[in-house]
Amino acid sequence: MTPSYDVVLVGGGGAGLRAAIAIAETNPRLTIAVVSKVYPMRSHTVSAEGGAAGVIAPDDSIDEHIYDTISGGDWLCDQDAVEAFVHEAPQELMRLEHWGCPWSREPDGRVAVRPFGGMKKMRTWFAADKTGFHMLHTLFQTSLKYGGVTRYDEWFVTRLLVDDGRVQGVVAIDLKSGRVEAITAKAVILCTGGCGKVFPFTTNAAIKTGDGMTLAYRAGAPLKDMEFVQYHPTGLPFTGILITEAARAEGGYLINKDGYRYLQDYNLGTPQPHPVFRSMELGPRDRLSQAFVKEMEKGRTIETPYGHVVHLDLRHLGEKKINAKIPFVRELCTKYQNLDPVRDLIPVRPVVHYMMGGIHTDIHGATPLPGLFAAGEAACVSINGANRLGSNSLPELLVFGARAGRAAAEYASQAREVDPRVIAQKTDEHRRLEQELFGRKGRERIATLRDEMQKTMEASAGIYRAAPALRQGVAELQRLQERYADIAIEDHSRTFNTERVSALELSFLLDVAQSMLAAALAREESRGAHQRTDFPKRDDQRFLAHSLVSRNADGSCRVEHRPVTITRWPPGERVYGEAAPHGTAHQAADRPLSSGAGV
């Protein structure tokens, strides 16, 4: 008997769980399944550190958050989506407060906010520096009270069931038993997160392999703005572990090998002792990561066995503040870098962190394929444009997780029953898996192909790009796709076969990587995180537009562009670091209203 639900969610992180709760609350009669390759509390939302933006302070305004987001995204954001997002973020964060999220507090008991990069007001809610961890566990634990949610923990989805142009479920492997099953549904929501593992050096967890993006892409839904990859400026060398932007928001300095706050040389403002909104270390991530590359070219970075680094200096913040506001930074540095930020400089370098692009959706999370929805990092609505601002992704997965949940609930309430013929596709998929994975006696090691793909992507689609390297990358990925057909799988067990999972993940990654290079090659301009040395200027005439990558029948990519939605904010220049019109973050922090003393 094939299990059947009204809505199937793929992915049990922040977006998936928020969507599940939204469906249960919209229509308690609907049946919901959450299918995830890991237990939900293992999802990568858990690693988010710094915070979640939502207008709450009395001196803040909705329009300012909108403007920061749009200018931060270099005008590639859809402004109707940003407006919806900024309006709904505070209530979503408040809902999480009601569900028990341990937000850091003011002495009077109200929720505290902190400054963040590219934001000109204090609006980032935080739970010390484990914000994602607390949000995820709050959502997961809260989701347990809804009886209508059935979980398929440690089930790996291999394809979407599509019939008659309509998505009607998934095929998945139960990892524990190795069984291949169809799970049908009137609507499917993909909440599988990002795809950082296409690159060698990333903050992303091992599970971030672009599964949902490729599932949608192979089923015929386009991927949007895939050329926009965020490098976070402060990752620990070797591990790639993230040192949160909150470390700079609390007053940390970025210094080169001479102890010089080098960001002042890159049009990001003049150094002040205390953090200044939208200036210096609180500039946007794309600009900071680009400044690092320039600084390296000038020979002013520090060479280490794990690449060039600069230093993040937190020593002047003092032990008390570090323990209160960014204890996880201290824990991570002690454990993984064998240093104490209270006394020592932290070596950091840019690290792949976030995918601005994703499955093309409208502002309700609907893709162009009927029955298919997406939310969170897997999706591209787009509110992040060409560069996401720090602390916008956590509220994004709440706002658009909830929106996708409500839209899918409404769709499923009116949709026709699943066509039983669709279940026959399970047999096809089972056969494909048997041939590709079970009977495979090839020569290529999975890890070798993965390493080569990652090196290719870093070489061709890093912080700075140009046509020759991008073309070389396209050709290399094509070769890797061919070599993938000859992979070796040593593990023939059906019980928890992680080698087969790795093979399927690699296959997803290769498709995602191809879409990224195709979009990067087609965008002949520089905007936000996409910097072309052969086209160094932004070109609004040609490219005030989203890239849409679709898959041709032969596996090749087709790139089209569609205009950005502009409502009230015509394209302008991104200005950071001018004399801060709204005062310093430090001055604001001195006001009793927003001291954020309690953690």
């Binding site: 890991v38 237990y39 028990g100 937000w103 507090r105 003011e106 002495p107 961890f133 080698e499």
Partner: protein, 246 residues
């Protein structure tokens, strides 16, 4: 030049073996490399059949708990160099059924977690527009340490009571119950008390504190259990002296 260390890794493939055996591998290591990096080296280069769970490799997702030289550890936060010159023995967490190699079945915990109602229980909910429930930093600090549990299962693996009596609801579930009981927004402690009291297990806990010692996040489940016992004892005394309806 990297040094090398020998890993003795427990293997169990239920289709092939009726009990676990050990396979030995030699891996290079540097001072930065965690035990998990050693396992990844084995899987990527030496033996693709090795099965284990991992994800964030920064000590927060809770996936990679295993028994390392007899002690429950997060393998992403335990370093090869600390065990030089080896050999280093890696086994699945104890007190759980083994599914395959280093992967254990945590379904029992997942079911117990639901039973302690790990969510805010209130008789009346305030509308979202009404703003936040006030919670001072001191009130936050009351329950915050218990909210740091990453569900890594090291405490269950170390718990002598759970080892003898799998019905015992266990350290992490009790800590999470206390996390909500001590939250000033919550009104569900009486509900949770019933669940926690219905089984003998909790009274069997002798405060050996193994759970607290192995916790990688300093949650102190043993403290939660003792605190809970005290509350329960006071409640039962109250019930004895002031019966319902009196």
């Amino acid at each position: 030049m990297a040094q090398r260390i020998r890993l003795q890794i427990a293997r169990y493939r239920p289709e092939q073996e009726s009990e676990a055996t050990f396979d030995e591998y030699e891996v290079p290591y540097t001072k930065e490399m965690a035990v998990l990096d050693g396992l990844n080296f084995v899987k990527d280069r030496l033996d693709g059949t090795l099965a284990y769970r991992w994800s964030c490799r920064m000590g927060i997702c809770g996936s990679c708990g295993m028994t390392v030289n007899g002690e429950p550890k997060l393998t992403c936060a335990t370093f090869l160099g600390d065990y030089a010159p080896g050999p280093l023995r890696v086994e699945p967490l104890r007190n759980f059924p083994v599914i395959r190699d280093l992967i254990v079945d945590i379904g029992d915990f997942m079911r117990k977690l639901v039973r302690v109602k790990p969510w805010i229980v209130r008789s009346a909910e305030k509308p979202i527009a009404g703003g936040e429930y006030l919670q001072t930093p001191e009130q936050l600090e009351e329950y915050k340490p218990f909210s740091m549990c990453i569900n890594c299962m090291l405490c269950y693996s170390a718990c002598p009571i759970y080892g003898l009596d799998p019905k015992f609801i266990g350290p992490a579930a009790i800590a999470l119950a206390q996390r909500y009981n001590l939250d000033n927004r919550d009104e569900g402690s009486a509900d949770r008390m019933e669940v926690l009291s219905e089984h003998e297990g909790i009274w069997g806990c002798t405060f050996v504190g193994e759970c607290t010692k192995v916790c990688p996040k300093h949650v102190d489940p043993a403290g939660a259990i003792q605190r809970y016992k005290l509350t329960a004892a006071i409640d039962s005394m109250k019930a004895f002296f002031a019966p319902r309806g009196a």
